[in-house]
């Protein structure tokens, strides 16, 4: 709680810089307009104009906020909450691809980690490639995955989810390998003195002690998953989803729309990481680990 004041200060500073930069960046266009209309701009006029342009170089926070409200809350009130113009619809499209990819990535990552921990051959041959795969900017493949899967008749949610899966499985593998190996020799010996089978050792010792590692990786994984879903929406040509809103906004120079999609994506990321944090706290508490 003692961090609230410093955080507020930083956030206020960011907002102040944002408003000031908006004046600086949008001023040329404001002067341009004034010159053509043959009027002299006073300082207050200038500020008012730069903070309310239709296609500003940098929209100010309240413009973005009102755009977000117009495309979410206001549309819900008028009963069109799920229409194609509403950000709720686009967020839902991105969110479902993110969650599907995240779930697939978590399952795949956990299975791979179990294989790596229990099989020396896999540890030797697969683990280095898992690590190398992340130094490769794999997002470059995204357009190709979309097009190829489209060509074999798979379209819609799954191709995007595949990209999310690829981005989110890595943190899970690395975290789970570490977690499944975290019980020390003493604990493993204890299991052996109880004559525990391999399966029992896994379910009662290794898996429970890997939970803190799992949740730490899940938080990284879901953020990466969202990035994957957004990038996956770019090559399909701006149909639906937050990535499509970004692309459409950049085609037509709708900066306010880009920023509102961006902030919505940020809120979505924060929300998902927050939910995982909550599940983590509850689970670890019930397991007696926190």
């Amino acid at each position: 709680m003692r961090n609230v004041l410093p955080i507020l200060t930083i956030v206020l500073a960011i907002l102040a810089i944002w408003y000031a930069s908006a004046i600086a960046l949008n001023a040329p266009w404001a002067y341009d307009k004034a010159k053509r209309a043959n009027i002299e701009l006073s300082a207050t006029d200038l500020v008012r104009d730069t903070w309310s342009q239709k296609k500003p170089k940098l929209p100010v926070p309240h413009q973005v906020a009102s755009e977000i409200w117009d495309t979410t809350g206001a549309m819900v009130l008028s009963g069109r909450g799920f229409s194609k113009r509403s950000l709720i619809y686009h967020s839902w499209v991105t969110f479902s691809a993110t969650i599907l990819g995240f779930a697939l990535g978590t399952v795949l990552g956990t299975l791979l980690a179990v294989g790596i921990v229990y099989n020396r051959t896999m540890d030797l041959s697969v683990m280095p490639w898992v690590i190398t795969s992340q130094t490769v900017p794999i997002i470059a493949i995204a357009p190709m995955i979309i097009v190829v899967l489209n060509a074999v008749g798979i379209s819609g949610l799954l191709p995007k989810a595949m990209i999310s899966m690829y981005l989110s499985f890595f943190p899970v593998v690395v975290g789970m390998v570490k977690g499944l190996r975290s019980p020390d020799a003493m604990q493993l010996d204890q299991m052996r003195t109880w004559n525990a089978s391999a399966a029992q050792t896994f379910w009662r010792l290794r898996l429970p002690s890997s939970m803190p590692y799992l949740f730490a990786s899940l938080k990284v994984g879901i953020a990466a998953s969202l990035v994957g879903a957004i990038v996956g929406e770019l090559p399909t040509g701006a149909v639906a989803g937050l990535g499509a809103r970004l692309l459409a906004g950049s085609y037509y120079g709708q900066t306010v729309q880009i920023w509102s999609a961006l902030l919505t994506a940020a809120a979505l990321a924060a929300l998902m990481v927050g939910v995982i944090g909550l599940i983590q706290r509850v689970t670890l508490k019930r397991m007696g680990m926190a």
Binding site: I7, V126, T132, T135, P137, P143, M144, V147, L246, A269
Partner: protein, 281 residues
């Protein structure tokens, strides 16, 4: 049918060799050979499956064809590499990382700011920053400057958080010792705290290498001059020239691994004293 049998045979042989290797005590040679054999096996299986199942090269070209295209279009690939990696990613990487380190050192003097900036910075590092790409392309134009700008923003926050954390990684005992030596703020910074922060800084630098390449490539999807890896990938996908796409991916893979490897090597030479580096081959 022959090709399919070949795929199965390649899998069996590769797996056999590796399980033999795994049973031996771990040495430098086995740690190197294992992954290499695994990689070769995968490539062989890929080649055999594509030929055996008659998969159209539009969907998945065989590795042999990718290598051919790679060799045939070297000048093109080189031009794209210079545009995206050298001009876009590297410029942004250097600017972003140095800005983050400088800001971290500046903030470090004010505990109040540090307490506020650390949570905000970690929050920003988790956001889909890549979404800023269309905005920055609008501001800085289509050429590499906008790509460098995207990279700067992407690497900035992970780097900042890591450096701030690293700078506070000195014990009270160590700082007291510096005080008994009558070392001032700057002396303590350069002789104790920056060296102690090195492992954290390198952790940030390593994360940032991948982010830099991703940022530079994805930013090109939002508009670029007629060269660059991201541009070539999105254009070739549209023309269904998948072999060229794969060739670009090979370039991206080599560039990414080399970039990461170079930073890791630098880390090893600069932080040889750190426990995590000691005793490693």
């Amino acid at each position: 049918m022959g090709w399919l049998l070949g795929a199965v045979a390649a899998w069996l042989i590769g797996w056999q060799i590796n399980s033999r290797l795994a049973r031996r005590p771990l040495s430098r040679a086995t740690a190197f050979a294992g992954p290499v054999i695994f990689g070769l096996t995968v490539i062989l299986i890929w080649e055999c499956l594509v030929r055996g199942l008659d998969i159209s090269p539009v969907l998945l070209p065989p590795p042999s064809q990718i290598i051919q295209t790679f060799g045939a279009s070297l000048p093109l690939l080189w031009r794209d590499f210079v545009q995206t990696v050298v001009k876009g990613a590297l410029t942004g990487y250097v600017l972003g990382c140095s800005a983050a380190v400088l800001l971290a050192v500046a903030i470090d003097r004010f505990p109040f700011l540090k307490r506020g900036l650390l949570p905000v910075g970690s929050f920003m590092a988790a956001l889909p920053i890549i979404g800023l790409a269309p905005i920055l392309v609008m501001w800085f134009g289509f050429d590499w400057q906008s790509k460098a700008a995207v990279v700067v923003v992407m690497v900035f926050f992970p780097m900042l958080v890591n450096t701030v954390e690293g700078l506070s990684d000195t014990g009270a005992m160590q700082r007291d010792l510096m005080r008994t030596y009558a070392a001032g703020y700057w002396k303590t910074l350069f002789k104790l705290r920056l060296p102690a922060a090195m492992p954290f800084i390198f952790n940030g630098l390593k994360i940032a290498t991948t982010l830099a390449l991703i940022g530079a490539i994805v930013a090109e999807f939002f508009g670029s001059p007629t060269k660059g890896m991201g541009f070539r990938i999105s254009i070739s996908v549209g023309q269904l020239a998948m072999d060229l796409v794969w060739a670009e991916i090979v370039v991206a893979a080599i560039a990414g691994s080399a970039f990461y490897g170079a930073i890791a090597l630098l880390e090893k030479t600069l932080t040889f004293w750190h426990p995590s580096q000691r005793g490693r081959m």
